[in-house]
């Protein structure tokens, strides 16, 4: 399972970090491409899923950078089809999560994925505020972040009349507690990086 990771710089390679932090060994991938062959989002991607792993296998900053800046990492839906069929049991969805988080931390996320990033951020912000997701509030923030004001305006009234669109956030969660979880998660991550 374990691989021997080397890196030209003083910093550990993404592959080495992924193995340590995410328990995914990119060295296990032998580039058969079965993940790409079954990926429902492959058409939307600029770098095929198996090639994303290839970019990490070289352990060179140039290739790592390409992986982090790719649109692909944001187009992954997280459907887990790839890992279900991977003959080497490489947890590619977990690797994608890792790359997304690293891309945001380095502020190099692909601009074509701004809307996707905005959605996820809006989602988590809503949860951090209320403990639970407030769908309308989340969509509002998403629209502010992306400027997609008129998108989906067509379905909104129907949703409202069908009782599918709540106008107020839900009570019931322990807001304080959830906010604390978010805060401590930030602190724990900061600590582990030092």
């Amino acid at each position: 399972m374990s691989s021997h990771h080397e890196s030209s710089s003083a910093h550990p390679s993404l592959a080495a970090r992924l193995e340590k932090e995410g328990e995914v060994s990119v060295a296990d991938c032998y580039q058969c491409g079965k993940c790409t062959a079954g990926c429902p989002a492959a058409e939307e991607m600029d770098v095929a899923p198996s090639q994303v792993l290839r970019l990490l296998q070289t352990e060179t900053p140039k290739h790592e950078d390409r992986a982090l800046k790719s649109l692909s990492i944001w187009m992954c839906i997280g459907c887990e089809t790839c890992v279900t069929r991977c003959p080497q049991e490489v947890d590619l969805p977990r690797a994608m999560d890792f790359l997304r988080q690293e891309a945001l931390a380095r502020n190099v996320a692909n601009q074509d994925a701004d809307d996707v990033v905005a959605f996820h951020k809006a989602f988590l912000n809503s949860v951090e505020r209320a403990g639970r997701l407030f769908e309308l509030g989340m969509v509002g923030e998403y629209k502010l972040r992306t400027g997609h004001f008129f998108k989906d305006m067509g379905i909104a009234p129907t949703m409202f009349f069908k009782g599918k669109l709540g106008l107020f956030p839900h009570g019931g969660a322990n807001k304080r507690e959830v906010a604390d979880i978010f805060a401590r998660a930030r602190a724990v991550k900061k600590e582990s990086k030092v």
Binding site: P40, R132, A173
Partner: protein, 293 residues
């Protein structure tokens, strides 16, 4: 009939866009003497956004829910939403298999984590009481349907424990138990686009179109799902889907709980059937020729 008591984690969407799922679930649970005990002060599991942006949160939020269930004395927790179910089950699996993650989550939640409650999806819960269903059927559900499992209910197998990940049959069995006929088709577990519903509805349209096309071609009169995301992507996003299809389709998308509720003779209103975008109606018998081909 003794009550089956099970912890209940509604998840955010059942309070909002998937109210129909919640309504039909409660109606069916009542009819089958299942006591759904809502976990007090439950919080959001983080869903797809959690694991995409913050791995630690994506484990800590669900574990917090499970700890609350445990505190409330609930050994089993049922999450009807497939995404919630997947996050709860995945978090539980990670706590069991990764000591490093466990330690981090313990310091975030400031508590030690011991054995967590078992996580169930709605199919597993209904399978547990399946022998109660058939005797209560008042009106057989005599439709031909495509059971659509999607991703998060079945994958990855090591987390969900589905032994036929590529060709699950558990939902098909439930439909058969209430008199329905299910088709053998190709897109049972192909992804619908999930959380891209809002940010990339074009992707949802493309993926949904493949799914609907195959189901319609094999003469399904409805799609049956057990996931709010699958439902809204195939129902709410039917417009985007039909844009991609040569032959538009108007077959409805039902939650498995609605199918069972109909067979148990529960009123349509209690099953939330009026909340669908694509109206729930079935072709008159005998069957019309297939829409596509």
């Amino acid at each position: 009939m003794t009550d089956v008591r099970v912890g209940y984690y509604p998840g955010c969407s059942l309070q909002g866009s998937s109210r129909d799922f919640a309504e039909s679930l409660h109606a069916v649970a009542k009819a089958l003497s299942i006591d759904l005990v809502e976990i007090p002060e439950w919080n959001c599991c983080g869903a797809s956004s959690g694991h995409m942006l913050d791995h630690l949160l994506s484990v800590a939020l669900p574990v917090n829910v499970l700890l609350k269930a445990k505190k409330a004395g609930l050994p089993q927790v049922m999450a009807p939403c497939a995404a919630c179910y997947n996050r709860l089950a995945t978090a539980s699996h990670e706590i069991a298999t990764s000591p490093a993650t466990k330690a981090q989550v313990e310091s975030v939640l400031q508590t030690s984590i011991d054995k967590l409650p078992r996580v169930l999806n709605v199919i597993e819960l209904l399978a547990q009481v399946s022998e109660r269903i058939a005797p209560k059927v008042t009106k057989k559900f005599e439709q031909t349907v495509a059971c659509y499992y999607g991703c998060l209910l079945v994958r990855p197998a090591k987390v969900t424990g589905f032994d036929r990940t590529e060709d699950p049959v558990e939902m098909d069995k439930l439909v058969a138990a209430v008199g329905g006929k299910t088709i053998d088709w190709n897109f049972k577990t192909e992804c619908c686009g999930a959380s891209f519903s809002i940010s990339r509805s074009s992707v949802v349209g493309r993926l949904g179109a493949r799914i609907m096309q195959d189901a319609v071609k094999r003469q399904a009169e409805a799609i049956v799902v057990a996931c709010p995301m699958c439902h809204s992507n195939l129902d709410l996003r039917r417009g985007e889907i039909n844009q991609q299809l040569e032959h538009k389709t108007d077959i409805p998308v039902l939650f498995i709980t609605q199918v069972i509720g109909l067979a148990l003779g529960l009123p349509k209103k209690k099953l939330g059937l009026g909340r669908h975008f694509v109206p729930v109606k079935f072709p008159p018998r005998p069957l019309a020729p297939p829409a596509v081909q």
